[in-house]
């Protein structure tokens, strides 16, 4: 009613002057003024003073706003997604796009400029060549989605989305020792419908004359659905669609999880009830939820620690003693220029040494990188680039593989974080065995860009139906660390 009254500006002004007089007269102006001190706004279900409620109700009036502005963080929501990067946005998209009956979805993101988001700082590649069948299926799902992305992600009154998908396959090179593994992997991929072909040394020499094939016996190439795209564009078109579908995006940082004691058959147990969010306007907001999804990427381990995952010993829980084994790691991507390098027929080449490169545009620019050894992991405090790593590791490997790269010049470089799963470098998805309303979507270890959409679909199915429907990801559940059934992926770049 109040909002309706305020539509007319004259009425609004009148009420304001009138109320300010009353306020001055009653000398309660101090309490109604906006203090800059840090304050806490309670979540739903917590007791609040009548004063606070009135203050909120009259705030648009005192500020001279036409409408009541929604609070920064909702007091309660059905599903809370921590992290608004590619995975978080994809999860929110599938939750809202395919079922509006699921209720409200809120995304909490710390940094809207995505300066440290892993997806934006990656090479943006997508491949079907994995040794674990679930990974192949997830990549295939992403390819199929991107095939029809205009139908999925168009929003009324906005320009059609564009992800600029470059169709170039991945080329995995293997020496004689690992040729059999590659052959088996290709067989498995083909049986799942991926279009991968095995190329012998002669075929490789004929197809890619610029490649030095010393010590290479066989290569596998993806002919369809593989390539690279712009993750930034995908995140933004997903986000635009989410906003149109009614997903609420909030800026803030989760600082605390609130637990509640609940009586059950075997004594009391703790459940996760809500979070406290630190907002940029200097306030703390409480937010209760029924279900929370951890999409914090490299910082997922920190969020899990806040949610008391892994410190069950304090409370005497025997089922909650394993921490989420995800930590940030730093990887570098280098851009170099080579005027005589390969042009249109450059696949995303992956050398047996672990170095990779791909074409970037047509002016003879390439981007490359490699993974360091476990003992030489760089410091993760800042995003500074180690140029010695290029000169000592990456460049020698690439120049050996492509002789034309001997005549090349390093142009630029950047660093990005990797959400590294310490146990088996694979996805962790699904609910925590003890805190069943805490869902994971973490530890992709560099495959987040290509698997994010499939993860979104899987989480949607878990919440909507209670089990996986399109791709069975139950092997990737958190329980595998308790049962010691790790899923090892061979094709890690």
């Amino acid at each position: 009613m109040m909002q309706a009254c305020m539509r007319s500006q004259n009425v609004h002004k009148g009420i304001e002057t009138c109320l300010s007089k009353i306020v001055r007269h009653l000398s309660i102006g101090k309490t109604l003024q906006y203090s800059e001190d840090r304050e806490y706004r309670a979540a739903a279900g917590e007791a609040r003073s009548v004063k606070d409620i009135f203050k909120e109700e009259f705030s648009p009036l005192m500020k001279g706003e036409i409408h009541g502005v929604e609070s920064k963080i909702p007091r309660e929501t059905d599903i809370l997604i921590i992290g608004g990067g590619l995975v978080g946005t994809a999860v929110a998209y599938f939750l809202k796009a395919y079922s509006s009956a699921l209720g409200s979805v809120t995304v909490i993101e710390r940094d809207y400029t995505y300066t440290r988001a892993s997806s934006m700082l990656s090479a943006g590649g997508i491949r079907h060549q994995f040794s674990v069948p679930e990974n192949v299926l997830m990549s295939k799902f992403t390819s199929d989605f991107l095939k029809n992305y205009k139908q999925h992600l168009s929003v009324f009154e906005q320009d059609p989305p564009e992800v600029s998908f470059h169709h170039q396959g991945y080329l995995f090179l293997a020496p004689l020792s690992s040729a059999e593994n590659l052959e088996n992997a290709v067989k498995m991929q083909r049986s799942l419908g991926a279009k991968t072909v095995l190329l012998s040394k002669e075929q490789l020499a004929e197809k890619y004359p610029w490649l030095n094939l010393d010590g290479i016996e066989v290569g596998s190439l993806g002919t369809s659905g593989e390539g690279w795209f712009d993750p930034w564009q995908l995140v933004h078109s997903l986000k635009a669609k989410n906003l149109a579908n009614g997903v609420r995006y909030c800026e803030g940082e989760v600082i605390e999880f609130k637990m509640e004691d609940v009586r059950s058959a075997d004594g009391t147990r703790k459940i996760i009830k809500g979070v406290d969010v630190d907002c940029k306007d200097g306030k703390h907001y409480g937010c209760n939820f029924s279900c929370v999804i951890n999409c914090a990427g490299p910082w997922a381990g920190e969020i899990a620690r806040l949610a008391h995952i892994g410190d069950g010993e304090q409370y005497g829980d025997t089922s909650n003693f394993i921490e989420l084994p995800v930590e940030p790691r730093k990887r570098y991507v280098y851009t170099f220029h080579c005027p005589d390098g390969p042009t249109l027929d450059t696949p995303f080449v992956i050398d047996p040494s672990g170095a990779y490169f791909r074409r970037e545009g047509l002016g003879g620019h390439y981007i490359c990188g490699a993974s360091p050894n476990d003992s030489e992991e760089p410091n993760i405090e800042d995003l500074n680039v180690d140029y010695d790593f290029y000169n000592e590791v990456v460049w020698p490997a690439l120049a050996n593989r492509v002789p034309a790269f001997n005549n090349s010049k390093l142009k630029a470089a950047w660093a990005g974080y990797y959400d590294y799963n310490l146990m088996d470098q694979n996805l962790i998805i699904g609910p925590h065995p003890y805190h069943t309303n805490f869902l994971f979507a973490n530890g992709m270890s560099g495959h987040g860009v290509q698997h994010a959409l499939a993860i979104g679909q899987a989480i949607f199915e878990l919440i909507m139906y209670g089990h996986y429907k399109t791709i069975d990801l139950s092997r990737f559940s958190f329980n595998r660390f308790m049962d010691d059934e790790l899923v090892i992926e061979d094709a890690i770049v």
Binding site: H67, S100, A101, K147, N148, K150, Q151, S154, F156, E157, Q158, D159, P160, S164, F165, H166, H167, Q168, K195, T223, S224, G246, T343, L344, D345, L362
Partner: protein, 300 residues
């Protein structure tokens, strides 16, 4: 609102048993101009779908409804198309599909372009088709290339033509090159979905000799890409580069963009999002020529 609509739908269902169907193509890229509204009588009126649609918190707009119907129509048409193909892929099946849908097929050692009969149906029986190989196809009249192009099965194909198709894009191009490695001429004039990334993959077709990219406004660097392509396809002749207009000039903005661009229509969209009524009366700002009469009326 929902209740009223439900009643309207129910009444319509009882009286006419009529389902509104909309002529299909790409849902969001359609322009008003090409929009045709048909009524088609269908006994299976799926009421559940409309209930599902009403459950969403949509702004109940005509555009939203149209989009929903386009999507539904497309799904239905895709199902019908795929039902024509059996699991064992054979060329005769694909060629029959093209001819019955109104496309043109030319066979080896034959100068005739075959198409469907006036009554409908294929002019050649499957027995007659068995010894024949398709040399060229013109599939301009067949809608939804994304659906059926994966069923394409003619490895000896040399000539492929599809023009002014909204749905034909880079992914379709990739499938075409994969399934027809011996292709020599591709005519994609007017296919705005094809972009630079679609031209890049043409290096796979080593036998390619003619490429027509006239009016493909999605392609930005046609000249540069065609010189790069010459390294792989030495006999290549690229036609129609002159007709690709400069995208820098606003006069070439497509009808869709003019209707939907954020930047061109920012005023309307702002009103829509803020819930403000457009109270500005534009007549106020019209310049009025001051005549002798008005001068007299002006106060001193």
């Amino acid at each position: 609102m929902a209740k009223i609509l439900l009643r309207v739908f129910r009444l319509r269902q009882q009286r006419f048993n009529v389902q509104p169907l909309v002529s299909p193509t790409n849902v969001n890229l359609r322009t008003e101009r090409t929009f045709i509204f048909n009524f088609k009588i269908d006994k299976k009126f799926n009421f559940h779908d409309i209930l599902l649609w009403l459950q969403h918190d949509y702004k109940l707009s005509w555009q939203e409804f149209r989009c929903y119907m386009f999507g539904k129509q497309r799904r239905k048409a895709a199902e019908l198309m795929l039902a024509e193909f059996s699991e064992t892929e054979s060329e005769s099946e694909f060629v029959t599909f093209i001819m019955t849908r109104g496309g043109y097929v030319k066979f080896y050692n034959d100068d005739v372009w075959y198409t469907k009969l006036e009554k409908g149906g294929s002019p050649l029986t499957t027995k007659q088709l068995e010894p024949l190989y398709a040399e060229g196809v013109d599939v301009t009249n067949i809608e939804y290339p994304k659906v059926w192009i994966e069923k394409m099965c003619s490895p000896e194909l040399r000539y492929f033509k599809i023009h002014d198709s909204v749905e034909f894009d880079d992914w379709c191009m990739l499938t075409l090159l994969e399934l027809c490695p011996n292709i020599e001429a591709i005519d994609i004039s007017g296919c705005t979905g094809v972009t630079d990334n679609g031209l890049e993959i043409l290096h796979q077709a080593r036998n390619l000799r003619v490429l027509n990219v006239a009016r493909c406004t999605g392609i930005k660097f046609a000249e540069a890409l065609s010189t790069y392509l010459l390294d792989f396809c030495p006999e290549l002749l690229v036609l129609g580069i002159d007709t690709i207009q400069d995208n820098d000039h606003s006069s070439h903005i497509s009808a869709h963009e003019q209707g939907h661009s954020r930047y061109l229509n920012w005023g309307l969209i702002m009103d829509h999002h803020l819930g403000l009524q457009n109270t500005l009366n534009l007549e106020k700002f019209e310049t009025k020529t001051i005549t002798d009469d008005t001068e007299k009326r002006l106060p001193d």
